[in-house]
């Protein structure tokens, strides 16, 4: 299985003792994220909701490309790739 890295945003890293970068394995983005939440179960609720799908405002970048929505989870990945988790930012009062 290819070994790739996943980087978390600072706010999410707080929930895993500040660790920002994880080494994971998987043939697709979805498998890599599943390996991540298997290593650190606390992250599962933050990346996936009750339906099992990715939360709508969690963004995942594969190297420099945005892995869009649910379809992005099936993207193939190769050894040495970088996955980056970011969150959507928008204006408006509800977001504070």
């Amino acid at each position: 299985m290819p070994a790739v890295t996943i980087q978390l945003p600072a706010v999410l890293a707080q929930m895993v003792e500040g660790q920002r970068v994880f080494e994971v394995s998987g043939a697709t983005i979805g498998e890599a994220l599943e390996d991540l939440v298997t290593q650190r179960p606390a992250l599962r609720v933050h990346l996936f909701d009750e339906s099992g799908g990715m939360r709508p405002h969690v963004l995942c970048f594969h190297n420099d490309d945005y892995a869009r929505g649910i379809e992005g989870l099936s993207w193939p990945i190769a050894a040495g790739d970088r996955l980056t988790i970011l969150n959507s930012i928008a204006g408006g009062a509800l977001a504070g």
């Binding site: 707080q14 609720v45 009750e50 099992g52």
Partner: protein, 392 residues
């Protein structure tokens, strides 16, 4: 003896600490930066729990033994993929779902509005409204199905903040007897440890909404209007649990019989005009100091003006058994145009009783004489959502 107060805000938590004199306070802010902190409690073994959430990353529970470092519990309360969401609350979820991922009317937890330790058991009240129970210090949670699958659930109507279970009261003499407040479904009571629940709103004026005007999809066939009771805040002394004070959208009430009947108790409180023309007392924050048997309330200027009437921040007090309220302004400003949210008030349980509340402008006020006089804590925080006080 010392006191700790966990102040939950839109962007983290402040921890206030003092000795039992409660004259000087140390403020440790902000912990859990970037996370919305919505509730806190302490269990019988001294561990603290806080609820965190994010519009992006969902809701979880964190724990601390020293009020400095926090660890997230791995398995927060959650609904099942087969649980059907309330039609009104689902509109809130879909409203934030710009990629349009949520295509089915499922039930999601977006906030944890209440954490409460009852003996060795932990309870959480969540949005979309529901109650969960943990027997292993939060490591796992089970839904209280008697409430979560209540036969009236489909016609529970969300308030402006969604459909949330925000208050949990217990009877110290019989822990199988509990009450919960849900905005805006009403108040529910169990006498059998959560197996069955009865709605307890007799004597409180309902709001009546027309389904077609709301545009609600998925309501049961034939339902054309919904009655809802927007229970904003509840307070009781657990050792005298049948006496409960209740601030509703439509007035301040009291029950002597555990919620079987409610009566208005508004003498001395500011009656204001609401958006629909009704005249009553409006507000959210309410608490009861057990040592002095004093009830504290912070009414607001109405549902259109969610700040103290004319900007004059006042705490109103009544004693258990009295039939009127009196205002105190000692230490409180005449130019406060911020709100005080339902979770943003608490008492510490000491004698004399300490009381604490926070505003949406991030200011915190503390009293060490059961609310007769107040001092502002020297810190300006983000919007304050919750205040939970603990005698250590």
């Amino acid at each position: 003896m010392s006191v700790a107060v966990i102040v939950g805000t839109d962007k983290g938590a402040a921890v206030l600490r003092s000795d039992d004199a409660r004259e000087r306070w140390e403020v440790d802010a902000l912990q859990l930066p970037g996370w919305k902190v919505t509730a806190a409690t302490r269990d019988s073994q001294g561990r603290f729990y806080a609820a965190v959430s994010s519009v992006v990353y969902g809701a979880a529970v964190v724990v601390s033994d020293d009020l400095k470092t926090w660890r997230q519990l791995e398995h927060p309360p959650h609904y099942e993929p087969t649980d059907r969401g309330n039609p009104g609350h689902y509109r809130f979820i879909r409203g934030m779902d710009f990629p349009a991922i949520y295509t089915e009317q499922r039930r999601y937890i977006d906030q944890i509005w209440k954490l409460k330790a009852v003996g060795d058991v932990l309870y959480t009240g969540v949005s979309e409204a529901g109650l969960f129970r943990s027997n292993d210090r939060g490591e796992s949670w089970e839904p209280v199905r008697g409430l979560n699958e209540h036969p009236t659930r489909e016609v529970w109507l969300p308030g402006a903040g969604g459909l949330g279970l925000h208050t949990i009261l217990v009877d110290d003499d019989d822990p199988r007897r509990m009450w919960v407040g849900i905005s805006s479904a009403g108040v529910f009571r169990t006498d059998d440890g959560g197996e069955t629940w009865e709605q307890k709103d007799d004597g409180v004026a309902p709001d009546i909404a027309q389904v077609d005007e709301l545009g609600l999809q998925g309501m049961p066939q034939g339902v054309t209007s919904i009655e809802s009771w927007c229970a904003h805040g509840l307070a009781s002394d657990p050792s005298n649990a049948n006496l409960i004070y209740r601030q509703d959208h439509f007035g301040m009430h009291v029950t002597q019989d555990g919620g079987d009947h409610w009566e208005l108790l508004e003498s001395g409180l500011p009656v204001v005009e609401l958006g629909n023309g009704r005249h009553c007392v409006f507000g959210f924050a309410i608490a009861l100091d057990p040592a002095s048997q004093t009830v504290l309330s912070i009414p607001l200027g109405g549902d259109n003006m969610r700040y103290p009437l004319d900007g004059k921040l006042r705490v109103y007090r009544t004693h258990v058994g009295d039939e009127s309220w009196e205002a105190t302004n000692r230490g409180l400003p005449d130019d406060c145009f911020a709100s005080i949210l339902r979770g943003a008030i608490d008492v510490d349980g000491l004698d004399p009783g300490g009381a604490y509340f926070g505003t949406t402008a991030g200011t915190i006020y503390a009293s060490r004489d059961a609310g007769e006089s107040w001092t502002q804590i020297p810190a300006t925080l983000p919007r304050i959502l919750s205040v939970d006080a603990f005698a250590l």
